[in-house]
């Protein structure tokens, strides 16, 4: 697939230069292009005082600012790159350190540490941050009197332990004697604005401490060119037309899993297996109508969002999240409502009551249960979070499907408190997207879930339900590359007959030998439920042999219900087969070697 430059007006090139450059690029192989890009960038960086945008500095000496990142899905990593670029622009010397590669002892000598870390599940740190997190919170942690720090915490306020990891880092660093540069900032899923504000504040503070024009960074390695040919991004999503939508579940299934194919033609977007697709959903029109009715608003009433005036109907449809009740949302609403019952719910002493109330209820229930008279449309939308994109693991390889991206999406539908509920993004894709309604998307790179560089290396993939998606991408990629490494897939779902997602594709791969082996667990086909981890246990000997032969293990799925059990199974298998009791260390080592990668949610 030839790489296309964005239109001339989107580049610093004039029309003539644009044409020449495009001609040159089309004629180059990917290897030639990579060399060219790297070489030119290195020349510029080494010989020029021009500010360097979009560059990741691979390694630096004498870094004064350490950006310490713990990232599960890649948002924190992206923010780290962003603040590093901003720091470089201010001639501040900043280096990115990923938590899994960062020894705790090094913190002692770090002068300025900017922690960017996310929280997922029930207040847990990202996989690659776990070790550092545990060490930091343990008694072994050193005194950090010399260190200054600031924490940017990422999370999702619909979870009880919102931004807990960031808060723990913040508290513990202070306990250990480090000096807080700024109060911690907690970002919700619509994190851009607050993250950017934090960056601005923290860099201002650092600039004043370190002095403007602090020494230019010294570069010792060829930088990695870190740009894509696309002008589309999280901030500027691409409207991807729908190519195909198929229900993968056979008749009689209680599941509703969609295979969705979108076109990326002319977007310039590219991705690698393991990456995710960010999708901006619109809300269900019926829910918007119900909400308007409950609030006694007419859909045409105006509200102002980001200095732009919009009809509230439109705002609720496209710009705000109108389902999940979050604590901040409830706080703002309670202030408007001036209802004692609501304030009580928010009281620290009634956390359980708050959780009980929110469980299974949405904003529509809140405004019905605690209706407020004479609330203004503006005041209401100001309570809400901005609509945030949802990430879906990409189910395709560009090598096999040029200009396409495929998703595997389970439509979430259920009923609580007498109301039928719909998962926002999944039912947006299932119900609203059609040939005439494209999907606003962007690529979310995830460097923590990538095929091994060595095409001969064996891989073991473990997924259930829709978490099969990235493995379809992996196998497509490996087949297209002619990779010789062995591939072993574990898959689980409810019923063999109706829920064996992509069954005929796996059968083809097995027949061709692309897939070396496949083990399946269908939980509800027999009286006793069987899950993938049981299949792993049954194949313990062979599985361990694969690990010993350098296999990388990939786990994709629900943290609580699946990834945890798979982790335990791996521990048991390693302990039993190696005779080594410290199977945790074995897995930790695998994780460090990037041979145990997880894409969990």
């Amino acid at each position: 697939m030839p790489i296309l430059l964005p239109g001339a007006e989107q580049t610093p090139l004039n029309a003539e230069q644009h044409r020449t450059a495009q001609q040159l690029i089309v004629g180059l192989s990917p290897e030639q292009l990579a060399w060219f890009a790297g070489y030119m960038t290195a020349q510029i960086v080494n010989n020029s005082t021009l500010p360097v945008n979009d560059l990741t500095i691979a390694e630096k000496h004498d870094a004064q600012i350490t950006i310490l990142v713990g990232s599960q899905t890649g948002n924190s990593s992206a923010l780290a790159l962003q603040i590093q670029t901003l720091a470089n622009k201010r001639s501040l010397n900043a280096v990115i350190q990923h938590m899994e590669d960062y020894p705790l002892t090094q913190l002692k000598s770090a002068q300025f540490v900017l922690v960017i870390v996310s929280t997922y599940g029930e207040g847990e740190p990202p996989d690659n941050a776990k070790e550092l997190y545990e060490q930091l919170l343990s008694k072994r942690a050193p005194s950090l009197n010399q260190t200054h720090f600031a924490v940017l915490a990422l999370g999702d306020s619909s979870y009880e332990f919102f931004c807990k990891t960031g808060a723990d880092f913040d508290q513990r660093l202070a306990e250990l004697g480090a000096t807080r540069i700024l109060p911690r900032v907690d970002c919700d899923v619509d994190y851009e604005a607050s993250a950017e504000a934090w960056m601005e504040d923290v860099l201002n503070a650092l600039s004043s401490r370190l002095g403007a024009g602090a020494q230019q960074s010294a570069i010792s390695a060829v930088p990695v060119f870190k740009t894509t040919a696309s002008s589309y991004s999280r901030k500027n999503p691409f409207s991807a037309p729908l190519l195909e939508k198929i229900i993968l579940n056979g008749r009689g299934s209680i599941k509703e899993t969609y295979h969705i194919e979108l076109s990326l033609e002319n977007s310039g977007l590219s991705y690698a297996p393991g990456d995710a697709l960010g999708v901006y959903p619109s809300n269900a029109p019926k829910l918007v109508d119900a909400l308007l009715q409950a609030l006694h608003f007419s859909s045409a009433e105006a509200v102002v969002i980001d200095a732009k005036q919009r009809a509230i109907g439109d705002a609720l449809l496209h710009h705000y999240e109108i389902t999940t009740i979050t604590r901040p949302m409830l706080q703002k609403y309670a202030t408007l409502a001036k209802l004692e019952a609501l304030h009580q719910l928010l009281d620290d002493g009634h956390k359980e009551a708050f959780n009980v109330y929110c469980y299974g209820r949405d904003i529509i229930d809140l405004v019905t249960d605690f209706s407020v008279r004479h609330i203004s449309p503006q005041a209401f939308v100001d309570c809400l979070r901005k609509q945030s994109p949802r990430l879906y693991s990409i189910a395709s390889s560009l090598k096999r499907h040029p200009d396409e991206v495929h998703l595997t999406v389970a439509a979430v539908r259920y009923e609580t408190y007498g109301r039928r509920r719909k998962g926002v993004a999944s039912t947006f894709l299932a119900d609203s997207v059609d040939e005439n309604h494209p999907v606003p998307v962007y690529i979310h790179h995830n460097n923590n879930f990538k095929l091994p560089n060595d095409p001969a290396a064996p891989i073991i993939m473990i997924g259930s339900g829709t978490s099969i998606a990235p493995f379809r991408a992996f196998i497509e990629e490996r087949e297209a590359m002619g990779a010789t490494g062995k591939n072993w897939l574990f898959f689980g779902d409810q019923h063999f007959t109706t829920d064996f997602l992509y069954q005929t594709e796996w059968q083809r791969y097995l027949k061709k030998g692309v897939l070396t082996r496949m083990d399946v667990a269908f939980s509800r086909d027999q009286e006793q439920k069987i899950y993938v981890q049981q299949r792993m246990q049954e194949r313990a000997k062979e599985l361990y042999a694969w690990l010993e032969n350098g296999a990388t293990v990939y786990v994709c799925g629900d943290e609580k219900r699946m990834a945890q059990d798979v982790h335990t199974a791996l521990q048991t298998i390693v302990a039993a087969e190696s005779g080594n009791k410290d199977s945790a260390a074995y897995l930790t080592l695998l994780q460090k070697q990037k041979r145990y990668q997880r894409d969990v949610y």
Partner: protein
């Protein structure tokens, strides 16, 4: 057969290669059953499974839909249970009922060859199903495949003592010709003890079994309900003073044909002689062996005994048989058949018992909202102390009912509305359809799902002509393989394509003459348009006791078929 010819055969005929390599019907069935990635068997094993009574099928209604869903076809299995002579106990009947609801599609099919048939079994349930069938002392081995299949026998409940004797003979033949291989027990019953050190042997079949399927029936005149002449081998019971003395022997029947291949034809069996009852097993075995040695293994469409006979001549066959027997068959005894149908309702037997013959449309036992046939038969089986008999017309006889139990069983028949079934039109009660869509892989057109609708439209025509009490044998199959013996229908339909049938006319009422193609590839409107004037004319112009099948020949709609080879003439 020399090694070299076997090799050539293996190259030419896949099924012969598969049998040759199967190690007495084992193949890779065990591995196939364990493969969790597919609901199907390995391709070669789908041939071998037939010898174990199992056909791989898929729901053809869903085939295209599932392909788009990236799902393999909805593979499922037909399991055919041998019921020699069609007789089973209430407890066996209850087991079949339970299995149908536990592992199958909640229905039971009574077949035209007196077997129970399950549909819709998933691969992972096959083993349990087969094991439970065997635990109730029925089996599925040799229910299909190139071997002798379920041996049929007129269930005749009236002549109880004669039936008992003849039935016993049918069971003995069935047992005698059951394959010897221990593969069945190993694969399905985890029973390796039988075989441990002894190599398998097939003294009758040999390791390549027969060139093609082989069917045997035993008839008790005057009933030809088993359609004896449609079978490769038949025994017509000859009695003296209500005591069995021996059998007339019939050979060379077979109905299946292939559309567009006139070298394939249906053929009715010839009566070649008479044997005393104690010779029956020997006669059956030698005839099977002749077919084993002389049947055409190079062409499966020319491999039935009927072609061996026509190719070599009936005299050659008799000579070969007499040689092998070491004596000659006697001249056939006189016999007469009056009907191929069943008599419905209560009948008294000679031994002071009663029996009730129940019409079951197309042999399908199921519960529907308005007709809870399955539940009713379960309730009856729970109190019945006699036996059940499956008829060759896909109906069911509740037999050996004592005077004391008759009222209770009759009560259940009333309670569940089963008596209504026997009030169906005479036309319907003399009709049969094969399974066809959605499960049968061979079907070209609907049959079981369509025939009731077609009958709905034919009944008013029959009634308007005043023929509502006149039995006419009407049969439909979705393909030309003949499961419902459509070429023996006075009116026969064979599916050509969805919604399109060949119409055949002129078989006789007693199953002793084939019908003939009358109209090709016609749809429902054309069927009704063609049949209406013939039916009307039959009502007006028929002679005394003249059957519909005879009438259409006399009045020139079709010529009588007197030999299978003339079927296409």
């Amino acid at each position: 057969m020399t090694e070299a010819t076997q090799e050539q055969l293996n190259q030419r005929v896949p099924v012969e290669r598969i049998k040759d390599a199967s190690n007495y019907l084992r193949g890779t069935l065990v591995a196939s059953l364990q493969d969790p990635i597919t609901g199907a068997l390995a391709e070669d094993d789908t041939q071998l499974s037939k010898y174990h009574g199992i056909y791989q099928q898929d729901d053809r209604d869903l085939r295209d839909e599932r392909r788009k869903q990236k799902l393999e076809p909805h593979y499922q299995f037909l399991v055919r249970i041998r019921v020699p002579g069609g007789v089973c106990t209430p407890s066996q009947r209850l087991t079949i009922d339970r299995l149908a609801n536990q592992y199958c599609n909640h229905t039971i099919r009574l077949t035209t060859r007196q077997a129970f048939q399950f549909h819709g079994i998933l691969k992972r349930h096959l083993k349990s199903t087969i094991a439970d069938i065997n635990a109730t002392l029925l089996d599925t081995i040799a229910a299909c495949g190139d071997v002798n299949r379920n041996v049929m026998c007129t269930p005749n409940p009236e002549q109880s003592r004669l039936h008992a004797e003849v039935y016993e003979t049918a069971c003995k033949i069935n047992q005698h010709l059951t394959p010897n291989t221990t593969a069945y027990h190993e694969i399905w019953l985890d029973n390796t003890l039988v075989a441990s050190n002894k190599p398998d042997e097939e003294p009758i079949y040999g390791k390549h079994y027969l060139p093609r399927k082989f069917k045997i029936a035993v008839a008790i005149p005057p009933n030809n309900d088993v359609d004896i002449f449609a079978n490769d081998l038949g025994f017509i019971a000859i009695a003296e003073a209500d005591r069995l003395v021996g059998f007339n022997v019939t050979v060379g029947g077979g109905l299946s044909i292939t559309h567009g291949e006139p070298e394939t034809y249906p053929r009715l069996a010839d009566v070649i002689g008479y044997c005393p009852k104690d010779q029956v097993l020997k006669v059956a075995e030698e005839i099977v062996k002749i077919q084993r040695d002389f049947g055409d293994r190079t062409n499966r469409k020319h491999a039935r005994l009927k072609y061996t006979l026509d190719d070599r001549g009936i005299e050659w066959f008799k000579t070969e048989l007499n040689q092998r027997l070491g004596c000659s068959l006697e001249a056939p005894k006189v016999f007469a058949f009056t009907s191929t149908g069943d008599s419905y309702g209560w009948v008294a037997g000679l031994d002071n018992t009663w029996s009730y013959t129940l019409f079951i449309e197309n042999g399908r036992i199921a519960d529907t909202e308005n007709y809870r046939l399955m539940s009713a038969l379960r309730a009856i089986a729970e109190i019945h102390s006699g036996d059940f008999r499956l008829t060759a017309n896909q109906n069911l006889i509740i037999a050996q009912v004592s005077d004391a139990q008759k009222a209770a069983i009759d009560g259940l028949l009333q309670q569940y509305g089963l008596v209504k079934a026997n009030q169906h039109s005479v036309l319907r009660r003399n009709s049969m359809a094969c399974v066809a869509f959605p499960t049968c892989g061979l079907a070209m057109a609907e049959s079981e799902r369509y025939l009731p609708t077609l009958l709905d439209k034919l009944e008013p025509i029959i009634n308007a002509a005043g023929l509502e009490n006149e039995p006419i044998v009407l049969r439909m199959t979705g393909c030309p393989n003949g499961c419902a013996r459509s070429v023996l229908g006075e009116i026969g339909f064979i599916g050509k394509a969805p919604g399109k049938y060949n119409l055949y006319l002129g078989a006789n009422f007693t199953g002793q003459r084939l019908n003939k193609l009358y109209r090709e590839n016609i749809n429902e409107a054309q069927i009704l348009a063609e049949l209406t004037p013939i039916i009307q004319r039959y009502a007006k112009e028929r002679q005394a006791d003249e059957r519909f099948g005879d009438f259409v020949i006399r009045t020139g709609y079709v010529n009588a078929v007197t030999a299978g080879k003339d079927f296409h003439a």
